[in-house]
């Protein structure tokens, strides 16, 4: 299979315009006749569904939550980047493009990344128009702050609730189109299979999570906007319901999976405190603007943080990366924390954390200013830990966070199955091997609002003439039957262990071998271990209740069955890539002082995996750097 990225011709700054000029259009009367399914109602899904509906398409939007407003975009705290250069600090589209490409360690496409930066400024205009109450100066202009991996201030924010405010704007716009009867919304509905007819995506099989009924939906195109899959680690910053099932079903039906192992481990989450823990809460990276990260210089220091004098504190990020300091990119900050914790300098009850200290910031700017900037984050920290972080430092620890990997898509955001699109976190497109802070809300929104509505027409223009799919097609019959059998199989095992038991087992293996630091023998061992977990799951899992009712245990089991298979692919991908790049750190490839060694001559490609009956075949999209010369990423 040759992977055609469909990058338009021309100079970097002309590519998107050149694409739009040549893309085929559909007249309004014909748009009405075309149906589009959007799976997921987060920023990308709601943005796409509402915008496609505004353009005149007939849209059906699905989410597993009880309302579109719950999608996990809601939890993003810190902000959204845009090259507005409002701070007059030398920012530009090109600089933002370069920061993003470099932040991703040169493992993404130039053209995609440039487009992301190019569309960032109009996106802020859009959200302001939709009523997002971004932070403002007294004079009424918009405020910016810095984020990791960047030396300008280009992050827009709404207190520590930026994701919530953007999502609610998207949700409002979505419901505006529900009222206009152009979008039909299906909450509490989970996609369990993709239906492919004559090689094209033509519908989905959905389980109604209230009645358990399987339903068929046909459409002229299917858009997946299902978010990240880091719950494969079980403990992550993601919502408990986040899953990789829609992606996995699409993968099994022929969509190639891009860079599955590229997972961002976020440096500032709350540490794990017990085995029963279900989730690791994120503390926004924006805290690193004013907070300083440190551990005691002395091993097993039992003193309280405030009792340790300045000269006995190791501000290790400032020490190792003097030019970026506490704002080093996430992958680097996480690895540095892991290095200190593994070396025995960790703090907290389980010695698995580092300090994030605001003492100096409070002395410098005053308590009120810090409260104004991060008040709700400090409140949240206190609610969860019972600790007042104005008085003593926060304890933070790395946690699985963002999936840079996802379904491989071309410049049009179409997967390798014609008519199947993947937008937002669930695709592999702009972030390469590491995502910069505040680029996630950006990518989700830009994909949904601006890119997909301008590319989907190029495909649908030819679908007007073909017959519209109907749900009585044998492929729907077949998919529904297979889904039913899959559910019945899980329910009849009646073993001795719970779904969560297997998820904890999977999580341990993935965290140990396929997270911040990876090596050949560990990954090989992990693949064997996960296969054992898979076999045990299918012979010994116990799910009570039946399939014709709301059954949350069954939902978990179905998601976990897919996570287990996805885990094998992630380890396979990490094993294949014999270099260190971005978040992918192979222990065999590092300098003497522990920095990553990238191997451009052998690995300057996007790995795109094809599913082959339980095995995976590798395809490569070679990355061509026409405008930028990949350099050694340094934040020193």
């Amino acid at each position: 299979m040759t992977l055609d990225s469909k990058i338009p011709e021309g100079k970097l700054e002309d590519k998107w315009r050149n694409y739009q000029v040549k893309s085929r259009l559909i007249n309004p009367a014909n748009k009405k006749k075309l149906n589009i399914i959007v799976v997921g109602s987060g920023l990308s899904g709601a943005g796409a569904a509402s915008t496609l509906a505004e353009l005149g398409y007939d849209v059906k939007c699905f989410c597993y939550q009880d309302s579109a407003r719950r999608a996990h975009s809601v939890a993003a705290q810190g902000g959204i980047n845009a090259a507005k250069n409002y701070q007059h600090d030398g920012d530009s589209v090109y600089r933002m493009f370069y920061d993003t490409l470099k932040g991703g360690d040169f493992r993404s496409r130039e053209a995609n990344t440039y487009r992301l930066a190019e569309l960032s400024a109009p996106l802020i205009d859009h959200f302001v128009q939709q009523g997002v109450p971004f932070a403002r100066e007294y004079g009424g202009t918009l405020v910016n702050r810095s984020f990791g991996g960047v030396q300008v201030q280009r992050t827009f924010y709404a207190r520590g609730q930026t994701g919530q405010q953007l999502l609610l704007a998207a949700y409002s716009q979505l419901y505006k189109m529900v009222r206009a009867k152009k979008v039909e919304m299906f909450p509490r509905s989970e996609m369990l299979d993709l239906v492919v007819i004559d090689g094209k995506a033509k519908g989905i099989i959905v389980r109604d999570l209230v009645t358990g009924e399987l339903k068929r939906f046909a459409a002229d195109a299917v858009v997946l906007a299902t978010g990240g899959y880091s719950r494969v680690f079980r403990l992550s910053t993601l919502a408990i319901g986040c899953n990789g099932s829609a992606l996995w079903k699409a993968h099994k039906k022929g969509a190639l999976f891009g860079a599955p192992s590229f997972t961002q481990i976020h440096p500032t989450a709350l540490p794990q405190s017990s085995e029963a823990q279900s989730k690791l809460t994120l503390m926004s990276e924006s805290l690193r603007n004013d907070g300083r990260i440190w551990v005691p210089k002395q091993k097993d220091d039992l003193r309280k943080a405030n009792e340790i004098p300045e000269d006995q504190r190791d501000y290790y990020l400032e020490r190792r990366y003097p030019s970026y300091g506490n704002l080093a990119p996430r992958d680097i900050a996480s690895r540095a924390a892991k290095e200190r914790i593994d070396a025995g300098f960790g703090v907290g009850k389980l010695k698995n954390a580092v300090y994030l200290d605001f003492k100096h910031a409070i002395e410098k700017f005053g308590l009120e200013t810090i409260k104004d900037r991060y008040g709700n984050l400090f409140t949240m920290y206190e609610k969860i830990t019972g600790i007042n972080a104005y008085k003593e430092p926060m304890q933070i620890s790395p946690a699985a966070h963002f999936s840079m990997g996802g379904l491989w898509v071309d410049y049009e955001l179409m997967t390798t199955i014609p008519g199947l699109y993947a937008i937002g976190e669930c695709n592999f497109s702009d972030h390469g091997a590491n995502r910069l802070g505040a680029n996630s809300l950006l990518q989700a929104s830009v994909d949904g609002y601006f890119i997909l509505p301008n590319t989907i027409n190029n495909y649908l223009a030819s679908e007007i003439k073909t017959d519209h799919p109907t749900t009585d097609h044998p492929e729907f019959e077949k998919s529904e039957k297979e889904t039913k059998a899959h559910i019945e199989q899980i329910l009849t095992i009646n073993g001795t262990k719970t779904v969560d038991h297997f998820h904890r087992e999977l999580g341990k293996v993935m965290w140990q071998e396929c997270a911040m630091s990876r090596n050949k023998s560990g990954l090989e061992k992990a693949i064997t271990q996960i296969k054992t977990i898979r076999d045990q799951f299918w012979s010994d899992v116990k799910v009570t209740g039946h399939d014709k009712e709301m059954n949350t245990e069954l939902e978990k089991a179905l998601r976990l069955a897919d996570f287990i298979e996805l885990g094998i692919l992630m380890c396979t991908d990490a094993l294949e890539r014999e270099e260190s790049c971005g978040a992918h750190f192979r222990e065999e490839f590092q300098t003497e002082d522990g920095e990553a060694v990238r191997v451009d001559k052998d690995y300057s490609y996007v790995s795109a995996w094809e599913y082959d009956n339980g095995n995976f075949n590798l395809h490569k999209e070679e990355l061509e750097f026409e405008f930028v010369k990949p350099s050694v990423r340094s934040y020193k």
């Binding site: 943005g47 509402s50 505004e54 939550q65 009880d66 309302s67 407003r69 719950r70 996990h72 809601v74 939890a75 507005k84 409002y86 109009p122 205009d125 859009h126 302001v128 128009q129 939709q130 009523g131 109450p133 932070a135 403002r136 007294y138 004079g139 009424g140 202009t141 918009l142 709404a158 609730q161 919530q164 609610l168 716009q173 419901y175 505006k176 209230v210 919502a239 408990i240 017990s274 029963a276 279900s278 809460t281 994120l282 609610k383 969860i384 019972g386 609002y449 601006f450 509505p453 001795t496 719970t498 969560d500 116990k542 799910v543 209740g545 009712e549 709301m550 059954n551 949350t552 245990e553």
Partner: protein, 247 residues
């Protein structure tokens, strides 16, 4: 840590439902309340019983999906938090903890502790938006919005839509929810064009959905995880009057 849960079990919307007792051992203070329920569910599976249906998603207090009555209070014993932010350290060893779903006619029970809050989505549908299409926006800094104005809009916009305000209100009023959204949009210059229509239609929908009237007891703001003030309701009422005169 060992506690006795008294939990509302109800098979479906038409079932009568009843409280059932569960003695649970092996809990720790660090566990969140929802993790304690997870733990109980694992024990139930191993005893071949159906799990308790309860809602959650983000487990960090922002998605608004979780929410149950705990010992007679929405989201448990503390003010202004979500159920997922409640930890077992707030209870004592040997405690009895009563867990019930939100009780409101407009939030019918689906199963056990899960209720249907789609009535809130339908209020949003009636005008909680700015009718501007993607692609039509002017430059973001073209309309200055003073810090205090955007701050006030943000205070109201913080609502997570959990429904605790409705559940705790003796009248099952959705006035805090509705007023928060109206004030968010009507405070901003972008929302001005549709301000009167928005107020009229959203408050009308609130009544159609069967939510009760507000009698200013202030119970809602105590339970609101975002601490949204009942001043919002007073402001909404003023806007209703204004919209009747000028709308």
């Amino acid at each position: 840590m060992k506690v006795t849960f008294k939990i509302w079990r109800q098979e479906g919307p038409k079932d009568k439902g009843a409280i059932r007792d569960y003695e649970v051992d092996g809990l720790t203070e660090e566990m969140s309340f929802l993790e304690a329920l997870d733990h109980l569910n694992e024990l139930l599976v191993l005893k071949d019983e159906k799990v308790i249906a309860f809602e959650y998603d983000c487990r960090e207090g922002i998605c608004g999906q979780c929410g149950v009555f705990i010992n007679g209070r929405a989201h448990g014993p503390h003010d202004n938090i979500t159920t997922c932010q409640l930890h077992m350290r707030s209870f004592n060893d040997g405690d009895t903890i009563v867990v019930e779903p939100w009780r409101a006619a407009s939030f019918p029970v689906i199963k056990d502790l899960v209720v249907d809050r789609s009535s809130l989505d339908r209020i949003i549908e009636q005008g909680a938006f700015i009718s501007a299409k993607t692609g039509t926006a002017p430059e973001a800094n073209a309309i200055p919005i003073p810090k205090e104005i955007s701050g006030r809009a943000m205070d109201a916009a913080a609502c997570i839509g959990c429904g605790a305000c409705v559940a705790t209100c003796k009248n099952s009023s959705a006035a805090l929810f509705t007023s928060a959204k109206i004030n968010h949009l009507n405070t901003l210059p972008q929302g001005k064009a549709e301000e009167h229509k928005r107020v009229a239609e959203m408050t009308f929908q609130m009544e159609i959905e069967g939510f009760g009237s507000c009698t200013f007891t202030g119970a809602c703001e105590v339970e609101c995880p975002e601490g949204i003030s009942i001043i919002n309701i007073a402001e909404m009422n003023a806007r209703v009057t204004k919209s009747r005169i000028f709308g």
